[in-house]
């Protein structure tokens, strides 16, 4: 296997808790990302899932160096971004681009499609002013938008089309990696499928690597080569998409999959659903040991003893649960 394009080593991103005026100095920290190690191969699609608040967006912003890391290393093509100079980071940042959930909020309503897509080209001076229009047209075609709409404004497009504009803008600088943070969560089912098809096609055609973030496992299943499941700032299961989704081993992944309602009334009415009690606990004082233990149907006393490490079960399927083997016998 060739060297990964992106590697995360024990990445931690904590936010200080702003205490009230009587608060002690050590008010603690929101451990939004707390010890994540991952690698991404060239041309690979990694799906990242977990309930809201588990740290997916913070992990994305950490990779993009939009928030300072508390510890660990983010290594892009051999360069550690967390220790790089501003100039170095600026140079590599072009290789990393992001697409957000809400195309309504992420596009400037006062900029035409042309100007939206051309902006990164002009800022990074990768394209002579005279050639920008041709390049914008090329990018629009690539994402399935007719170039004749170039002078229109975002509000004149549907949600799905706006997401295409955001994708075209992200592709403008020929990045190597795209991080898409819930890019289809706000869209209707049939439009979701259109955007998923587009992303899959771009990855294949342009050899891009993609980190695809979603809170819905049924969406990532299609597009991902591998899937990582996050809970309270940590990865609790990681492996080939089909293994994680068809043979989930972590009790949390099992519950997440079980909670997805299926469009099959016969099955829906008879199957036993794992309903997790409560909400995920606060990342300020995560539960001791396995942070999932208060909600876990398989928890035992010993689950509170230590944080279970992510360990290989079979092939490249990794799980952070001390009972993973015995539960699935």
């Amino acid at each position: 296997m060739t060297a990964p394009i992106l590697e995360l080593r024990d990445v931690r991103t904590h936010f200080p808790v702003r205490g009230g005026f009587l608060a002690r100095r050590d008010a603690g920290a929101v451990k939004a990302v707390d010890g994540v190690s991952l690698s991404l191969a060239r041309g690979e699609v990694l799906g990242l899932v977990g309930e809201s608040g588990c740290g997916k967006s913070t992990l994305a912003r950490t990779i993009m160096q939009l928030v300072p890391t508390t510890g660990g290393a983010v290594i892009l093509e051999g360069k550690n971004l967390t220790t790089g100079t501003d100039a170095e980071i600026e140079a590599v940042r072009r290789d990393l681009q992001m697409v957000f959930q809400d195309p309504y909020a992420s596009l400037n309503p006062r900029m035409t499609v042309h100007d939206t897509i051309a902006e990164p080209l002009l800022v990074h001076r990768v394209c002579a002013r005279a050639d920008t229009t041709a390049r914008v047209a090329e990018l629009m075609t690539l994402v399935g938008l007719a170039p004749r709409f170039m002078q229109k404004y975002p509000h004149e497009f549907s949600g799905g089309q706006r997401q295409r504009i955001a994708i075209a803008r992200a592709l403008a600088l020929n990045p190597k990696i795209i991080i898409a943070d819930e890019p289809v969560s706000a869209l209707d089912v049939s439009i979701q499928a259109q955007i998923l098809n587009l992303l899959a096609q771009l990855v294949r055609r342009m050899g891009l690597s993609l980190i695809f973030i979603a809170h819905d496992l049924s969406v990532v299943k299609h597009i991902s080569d591998r899937v990582a499941v996050m809970y309270l700032g940590k990865i609790v299961e990681l492996g080939p998409a089909s293994d994680v989704i068809e043979r989930p081993r972590h009790p949390y992944t099992r519950a997440l999959i079980s909670a997805i309602p299926t469009p099959n009334p016969g099955r829906e009415r008879t199957r036993k659903r794992i309903v997790l009690p409560g909400d995920p606990p606060s990342p300020i004082n995560p539960p001791r040991g396995c942070a999932f233990h208060p909600r876990c149907p398989h928890a035992q006393e010993r689950c509170q003893a230590a944080v279970p490490p992510l360990e290989k079960l079979e092939g490249s399927h990794e799980v952070a649960c001390i009972r993973a083997e015995e539960i699935w016998q």
Binding site: S190, H215, N264, L276, D279
Partner: protein, 323 residues
């Protein structure tokens, strides 16, 4: 019949045109029944229910025609006093965003007892006891303490439960739920769906559940109707709708659900977009996106016609026996 809606039309008269948001919707609901309304965003699901609840902003909205008989009273035309007594006590509504129904500045306790004090002859003390009981029933731990909280002191899922408690405290005969789980994680969605089922089982109320997620209706609803461009295109008992859908739009919606498709290949999509309901169109609103469309589809106005006693749909070619 608990509710009988006939030929409801709700239009929005705006500067850019007249939007026919709901355009001739008729349906019935029996006591205790759960009806799912599904369709893409903009298809008129919310406006249908807002019309029944008197929540359509007028102007620009206007109820152009129709009746909605609820136990003998026409919700669209009866006297305001009588309506007030029905909405708020016998019919309740919950929303995607719980803050639509919660007041951020008031303690939960005050908000829970308000409808009781208005609609029932009950002392404040007895109302508070009912409120506490209700909070416990929807699964709020430590309810005796939390009843004094303000809405922002609850997490998203808990706030949804508080809103449900508030909707159910008057023991309504009909609950209208407008995408109450759309913004939630699947895990919390599962909790809320279980809760609605439990409450319904205990009280025997009828439910209209609006969602764009076909998966959600499959386990919850007795009957489902599919809306497209302000009209109902297909309605059937849940099993029939999922196992033997006939309208090409319903079939397309179902085929585009990612979880039903093989991994790897292109995902099926319905090409194009729903029509602009401010522009006139003739015939079937789905025709321009439909792979089965023939000239006939643009000539005749489609009407719901029965496929079986529990199943009706509007596709003209299905009605002609061609597909």
């Amino acid at each position: 019949m608990l509710l009988s809606v006939k030929d409801l039309r709700t239009y929005f008269h705006t500067r850019s045109g007249v939007y026919r948001a709901v355009d001739g919707v008729s349906f019935d609901l029996r006591r205790g029944e759960t009806l799912g309304i599904v369709g893409e965003s903009g298809s008129g699901k919310s406006v249908t229910c807002y019309s029944l609840m008197g929540l359509v902003p007028q102007p620009p909205g206007r109820i152009e025609s129709g009746t909605a008989m609820f136990d003998g009273a026409d919700l669209l035309h009866c006297a305001p006093r009588r309506l007030q007594a029905i909405r708020g006590k016998r019919i309740s509504m919950i929303f995607q965003d719980p803050m639509t129904s919660l007041n951020p500045y008031l303690r939960i306790s005050e908000q829970l007892i308000e409808p009781l004090l208005i609609h029932e002859k009950i002392s404040r003390k007895a109302a508070l006891a009912r409120a506490l009981e209700m909070l416990e029933a929807v699964g709020i731990n430590d309810a005796a303490k939390r009843i004094h909280y303000h809405p922002h002191e609850f997490s998203g899922g808990m706030r949804q439960r508080v809103m449900i408690a508030m909707a159910l405290i008057t023991k309504p005969e009909l609950l209208i739920a407008d995408e109450p789980t759309t913004a939630l994680d699947v895990t919390v969605q599962a909790q809320i769906l279980e809760l609605i089922k439990k409450m319904q089982h205990e009280s025997g109320m009828a439910v209209i559940f609006i969602t764009h997620d076909l998966g959600v209706v499959s386990g919850l609803c007795d009957r489902v109707q599919v809306m497209y461009a302000g009209r109902i295109v297909e309605t059937a008992d849940t099993r029939t709708l999922f196992y033997h859908p006939r309208h090409p739009y319903t079939i397309g919606l179902q085929r585009s659900i990612p979880s039903l498709q093989k991994k790897g290949g292109e995902l099926f999509t319905i090409k194009g977009l729903p029509p602009d309901v401010s522009k006139p169109f003739r015939g079937c609103a789905f025709a321009e996106r439909c792979e089965h469309a023939k000239p006939l589809c643009n000539e005749k106005d489609p009407q719901l016609a029965p496929v079986s006693p529990t199943h009706a749909q509007t596709c003209l070619r299905v009605q002609a026996g061609e597909i």
